[in-house]
């Protein structure tokens, strides 16, 4: 684990530029994934808590919401979706992309939103990313109710707290890799020296220092997505949202990207939420939220993630309450 502070004379690394917010435990190497979903039909009593109560039976104060990864009050909740519905007008009627979805994501999670095409994955990510507004319900980011923010404040919130990784990379083609990574810092008003320093460190953290001066058209798909990841994390956001990040990558690049994101998640404590139906990615995730027809049908923790405490504390999200499955990878 790199030190969060930089020693004089020591080479600059991405991690040294940002003090860690979360004292995350050292993570073991990524295990070869072989999760087997064991569906629990019904709602096992030993895994369920009353809504609003913690695992010790005490009433939830609201500071530590009950959800799979938020087992103690020490892990703050970063994203909360409460009864979120999103409808789109289509041919003189409304189509529900999301229907009464509840989701709680703690800081530091590595969470996948999975589901078939049209299940509402991207819509949910857009809502969490504050680039779309729910028709009903509300989204809280770091305790801030985004529905109460005006566009200017929403923009500022996205700028500071959220990093985006897109399926099609969405790099600015006329910028070099380094300049692309600098862009969020430019928007945040960092001076050029600091921008260059941080961008270089971010590129180093994704293993692309040597390609810093290349424009996107000269990079491979995997390299472009790594640049996109560097861009998403360069300003050290609280949350990184990735929409189908491996969809345009071959297996080798996809695996490398997954490993990279997971590594950043562990080392920097960055919260990753990504939509995917890529089995390769799902195998590496700590938690999988499955959507179908705009509803949460499963909220799964993998074996790595689950501990005895988590099991005791686990409460499925309210959105998964309609005959849904709590699947544990064991």
């Amino acid at each position: 684990m790199p030190s969060p502070t930089r020693h004089p004379g020591a080479p600059l690394s991405f991690y040294s530029l940002f003090p860690r917010k979360l004292p995350l435990p050292a993570h073991p190497p990524i295990p070869t994934p072989h999760p087997v979903s064991v569906p629990f039909v019904g709602n096992p009593a030993h895994l369920r808590l009353k809504p609003g109560y913690l695992s010790d039976g005490s009433k939830n104060s609201g500071k530590g919401p009950a959800h799979p990864m938020n087992t103690t009050d020490q892990t703050p909740e970063l994203v909360t979706a409460e009864a979120v519905t999103r409808r789109f007008p289509m041919d003189h009627r409304f189509v529900s992309a999301l229907d009464n979805v509840n989701l709680h994501v703690a800081a530091g999670e590595f969470l996948a939103i999975s589901g078939p095409s049209g299940s509402g994955k991207s819509t949910l990510l857009n809502l969490i990313g504050c680039i779309d507004k729910p028709t009903a319900g509300r989204i809280l980011i770091d305790g801030v109710d985004t529905s109460k923010l005006n566009p200017k404040r929403l923009t500022a919130l996205r700028r500071r707290k959220i990093g985006f990784v897109f399926q099609t990379f969405n790099l600015i083609p006329v910028f070099t890799a380094a300049e692309n990574v600098e862009f969020p810092l430019l928007v945040q008003g960092f001076n050029s020296h600091e921008r260059r320093q941080r961008a270089a460190a971010a590129l180093e953290s994704v293993g692309l220092s040597a390609r810093a001066d290349q424009r996107p058209d000269l990079l491979s798909g995997g390299e472009r997505q790594r640049v996109a990841v560097a861009r998403a994390i360069v300003h050290r956001p609280a949350l990184v949202l990735a929409d189908e990040p491996t969809a345009n990558l071959d297996t080798r690049n996809a695996t490398q990207l997954i490993d990279l994101m997971h590594d950043l998640n562990r080392r920097l404590g960055l919260t990753f939420i990504f939509s995917t139906h890529d089995a390769r990615l799902l195998e590496h995730t700590d938690r999988i939220v499955r959507l179908c027809d705009g509803q949460v049908v499963a909220d799964t923790l993998t074996a790595d993630t689950l501990t005895a405490d988590t099991l005791n504390a686990h409460v499925p999200n309210e959105g998964a309450s309609h005959g849904q499955v709590l699947a544990l990878s064991l």
Binding site: D132, T155, N170, R195
Partner: protein, 409 residues
């Protein structure tokens, strides 16, 4: 800001073919304005100097009554002590000389046929010193010797009408200040082409002394002042005005621009044509650029969505598009300046001549003036046009719904 400017600059060259087409269009507009404006400027500048050097001078001094004069007895309102006035004017800076004149009217006859003339009695030496030389079609100018015979120059149209040539004699008839009819015989020493057909049909030029003898008066109707540069006219006029007010006779001065009616008409016409051309170029660039920039916005929808998603303020997107358009305008203007000046130089070197315009009888050389003001003005027209054209695409880009923009294919 530098990085943002760099982004705008690189975006300009993102679609090179389209950018080149835009630059050609913008540059063509600038070059067109430069050539048209440069040619018009040459025409008006040439007309101005011709008008002045053809005898109008930079400033003319009259008595205040001159403008209410009786056209038959013009010297009734003439300048009495014109030599003193002339000496006063001569003392001024930038004054090259002063030429006394009598502008009068009368009849001219060859014994068989008579016609009306518009006479200009001059001091040939003073005229020569100011460079006011008549355009001779044949013969010579008045020699200005005190005891020479009564010499005359007549317009080519009048000569043709009277069926006379150099060396022939004519009789002039005019009304004296006493109201009597007086006559004097003159010998034609030259035939003049003023450049204006109407003028050529009436023009007569005789020495000042001859006219004073004909009109029986020592006065002159006006004093023509020649300056070193036309640009000094206002300065000298300002200097002269109080000095003329101190004279016993009430005097008035007129600057060349007040007297050059034809010049003003031509200038107004050229200004109108140039304004019309400028508007055409402005709207041509505006419309074509709106289309181009909307295409660029459409192509970059997802990129704009990405930038907005990353928290880029919407005003930055507006600024970016306007900056790109302005940069395109600047580059196009530079290309147009280079092209316009090069073409102008080639045309100037070619020695082309234009056929005479209505009212003139001589060919006009085709020249293009390279005027800094025109270059700046033409460039600003297209730059402003492009900046204006970018407003709509820029605002549309900034108002994109991020989620929709990111899903744009």
């Amino acid at each position: 800001m530098a990085k943002f400017l760099l982004l705008a600059f690189r975006n300009v060259f993102r679609n090179r073919r389209r950018t080149i087409m835009t630059l050609i269009m913008v540059g063509g507009g600038v070059a067109g304005l430069l050539l048209a404006g440069g040619f018009f400027a040459f025409m008006t500048h040439g007309l101005r100097e011709d008008t002045i050097n053809d005898g109008l001078g930079h400033i003319q001094i009259f008595t205040a009554d001159h403008f209410n004069r009786d056209e038959v007895r013009v010297l009734d309102s003439g300048i009495d002590n014109w030599r003193r006035v002339s000496a006063t004017v001569q003392a001024g800076d930038h004054v090259r000389g002063v030429a006394p004149r009598i502008e009068f009217y009368g009849m001219i006859s060859n014994g068989v046929k008579s016609s009306v003339f518009m006479g200009s009695a001059v001091d040939p030496n003073a005229e020569k010193s100011l460079g006011f030389t008549p355009r001779l079609a044949s013969g010579r100018d008045l020699d200005g010797k005190p005891n020479s015979d009564v010499e005359a120059l007549i317009g080519s149209g009048l000569a043709k009408s009277m069926n006379v040539k150099v060396g022939d004699g004519l009789t002039l008839l005019a009304v004296t200040t006493d109201g009597a009819l007086n006559g004097v015989d003159v010998q034609i020493v030259g035939i003049v082409k003023t450049g204006y057909a109407e003028m050529d049909a009436r023009y007569l030029r005789i020495p000042l002394a001859s006219a004073q003898r004909l009109l029986q008066c020592d006065r002159v109707t006006n004093l023509v002042v020649g300056l070193d540069k036309t640009e000094n006219t206002d300065q000298v006029a300002a200097w002269l005005t109080p000095r003329l007010n101190g004279l016993p006779q009430q005097m008035a001065l007129r600057k060349w621009v007040d007297l050059a009616t034809y010049y003003k008409q031509v200038r107004t016409m050229f200004d109108g044509i140039f304004l019309f051309l400028g508007l055409i170029v402005f709207f041509m660039v505006l419309m074509a650029s709106v289309n181009t920039l909307l295409m660029a916005m459409f192509e970059r929808t997802r990129e704009i969505g990405t930038m907005l998603a990353m928290g880029t303020p919407r005003i930055w997107i507006v600024t970016l598009f306007m900056l790109e358009a302005t940069l395109t305008g600047i580059l196009g203007a530079l290309a147009g300046l280079v092209a316009g000046n090069l073409i102008g130089m080639l045309l100037n070197a070619s020695g082309l001549h234009m056929p005479p315009p209505p009212g003139l009888t001589v060919n006009i050389p085709f020249r293009v003036l390279h005027l800094p003001g025109l270059m700046i003005g033409s460039s600003l027209v297209v730059i402003f046009s492009l900046a204006l054209a970018s407003i709509l695409p820029a605002i549309r880009a900034s108002r994109l719904q991020i989620a929709e923009a990111l899903a744009h294919v």
